[in-house]
Symmetry: C2
Subunit: 343 residues, 2 copies
């Protein structure tokens, strides 16, 4: 049972006293990098004392002294969006072995929230940032970060004019593959439901869509902008599309929008892929279990997170990589939501 005040923890001094040496000696003995300076016998005694007392070094105090909090801020729109958990795990699993801990900040796509979250992260003196919420126009938070000299890596959305490196999936190729696939199935009239067009990914995907359509004689494509990358926004957009004549296929900017499209189709008594084929983007978890199994562009989310973590660690280690871009390959996964064009 705990004899002392419940919040009192073992410190270096406690260990030092027990081992009969100075706390500086304990510090050296316990750090593999400096243990060589200390006599074997002392190291042994210190280790013993430390383990007897259950000593766990205070990372916070160490960080204060070393000017390294050993934390990394991860800024995302919403952890509840199934796209992000795999990314976060990719990040965490790569940070962990190096002693870094991720601080997750959800912004809900709200600038004011993002500002507040960023201030919190600054207050915690994060050693770096992984940002997955970049907008295309003003990015006040990113600029603040840059001015404050905070290292950062962008994930999936670019940093505008800022020199932060970027990790992304090969969006253009993915969209192109989707359009090719639909073309091969005989579709000639297809709609792209884009995400908000102030997001760099949405823009890239919409542009790729237009180019891919233009590359095919006789294909017609139009772009509709959804108000958000959500199921409900996708559904609303699709309702609008259905209101003035139905296309034979839809390419959605992400899987959530695709789910919204599927719901809208169902509500209108239309079948997928019988009446309308649907292609998603991201291959989110359980995309294969939906109704019908979603044809979508697989994005290596965990690897994206891992790569972002790697790049950030390199930056922290002093490597410069201004404007670096890592583009990860994507692949079309054909499942049940696409089929031959009707009639």
């Amino acid at each position: 049972m705990p004899e002392r005040d419940s919040t009192r923890r073992v410190t270096l001094d406690d260990v030092a006293q027990r081992a009969g040496v100075h706390k500086a000696t304990v510090s050296r003995a316990l750090d593999p990098a400096t243990a060589g300076l200390i006599s074997d016998e002392t190291v042994r005694r210190v280790r013993e004392a430390a383990s007897e007392l259950g000593y766990v070094p205070n990372i916070v105090a160490r960080g204060l002294r070393k000017k390294a909090s050993m934390t990394v801020g991860v800024v995302i729109p919403d952890l509840t969006n199934p796209f992000f958990p795999p990314i976060v795990r990719g990040i965490e699993d790569h940070l962990q072995p190096r002693g870094y801990t991720a601080l997750i900040a959800n912004t809900d796509g709200d600038d004011a929230v993002e500002e507040a979250q960023f201030t919190t992260l600054l207050g915690r003196r994060v050693d770096g940032l992984i940002v997955a919420t970049g907008r295309h126009g003003d990015q006040p938070v990113l600029e603040r970060a840059h001015e404050a000299g905070v290292r950062a890596v962008m994930l999936n959305r670019d940093a505008g004019s800022l020199p932060y490196p970027l990790v992304t999936g090969d969006d253009a190729t993915g969209i192109t593959a989707a359009v090719e696939h639909l073309h091969g199935l005989g579709h000639r009239d297809v709609v792209h439901i884009a995400g908000p067009l102030d997001l760099s990914t949405s823009i890239v995907r919409a542009d790729a869509f237009r180019i891919a359509i233009a590359a095919h004689e006789g294909m017609r494509g139009s772009v509709v902008e959804a108000s958000a990358l959500t199921v409900s926004a996708g559904r609303e957009s699709m309702e609008a599309v259905l209101a003035d004549g139905s296309p034979t296929a839809v390419v959605a900017s992400n899987d959530l929008i695709a789910l919204g499209v599927l719901r809208a189709l169902r509500a209108h008594g239309l079948t997928c892929p019988g009446d309308v084929s649907v292609v998603g983007f991201n291959d989110m978890p359980f995309a294969e279990d939906v109704q019908p199994p979603l044809t979508t562009v697989h994005v290596p989310t965990t690897e994206m997170g891992a790569e972002a973590a790697r790049m950030l660690l390199r930056q922290i280690d002093g490597e410069r990589q201004d404007h670096a871009r890592v583009v990860l390959p994507v692949s079309l996964v054909v499942r049940g939501s696409t089929g031959p064009a009707p009639r």
Copy 2:
């Protein structure tokens, strides 16, 4: 552009110098609780200097002095399991306004990993723990935490003999409702695919299943233990069940297992709910979009997280709540995966 060393940040002393006062005065002026001690004029000057310099207090340094890291460890099996993101957001959204940050630790159900994660959290001197990985037998980590005097709240799985409070859904009622529902549809032969029976939730649900079955004349139920709460484990268990005669309905211990059951049915050319009805548990995100839309027990995950955060904060504020239990109501959501018993 940053003139100084990129990692140099503004400190209290910088602000003090600029405002022409002592740093202790700045500290007081900036803390609403003590600003009253300082003359209005000084407070004004200090605030001005702080904002001109873009001063952001170092929470880490403050924490060292105040012996409060303002962090909370959240220990979960896997963020990638769709059950957890809503919980985590419920926690974070409640911690945020009080200035606490959540540190997420994934254990992947591995004791060694859990130990390591716990040590990291101890090293970061978390002010409390929310633990969603409790096993039923030995819980070495929890015991270490208890001995170290760490406050904690259990989420969804109990703490054994330890006095930590628990937040959970009303599992027994949920399972009972599922069985009633199936009974009403004419099912008489139903299998429960339980999670690993060293998890307290699995035990509670399996027990409730047996009791509910026994309450209905002429109903037969058997319990099969899955090796994990995953899709693949669910599928394997269902394969085994199908190997020796098929029930008309399955109650799964969670939605992932239910998805595995659906996959197994599909693989065997059986239809749901035509041949076999399936009930899940948790109502995870997009459960309504799967094939077929999943009948499942809705659990208020976000509220569970929020409640756990609340209870932890109360504990941090000094309130005792040993062995407290908060049981949140659940409700059966009937969708497409259940139907009348065949023949």
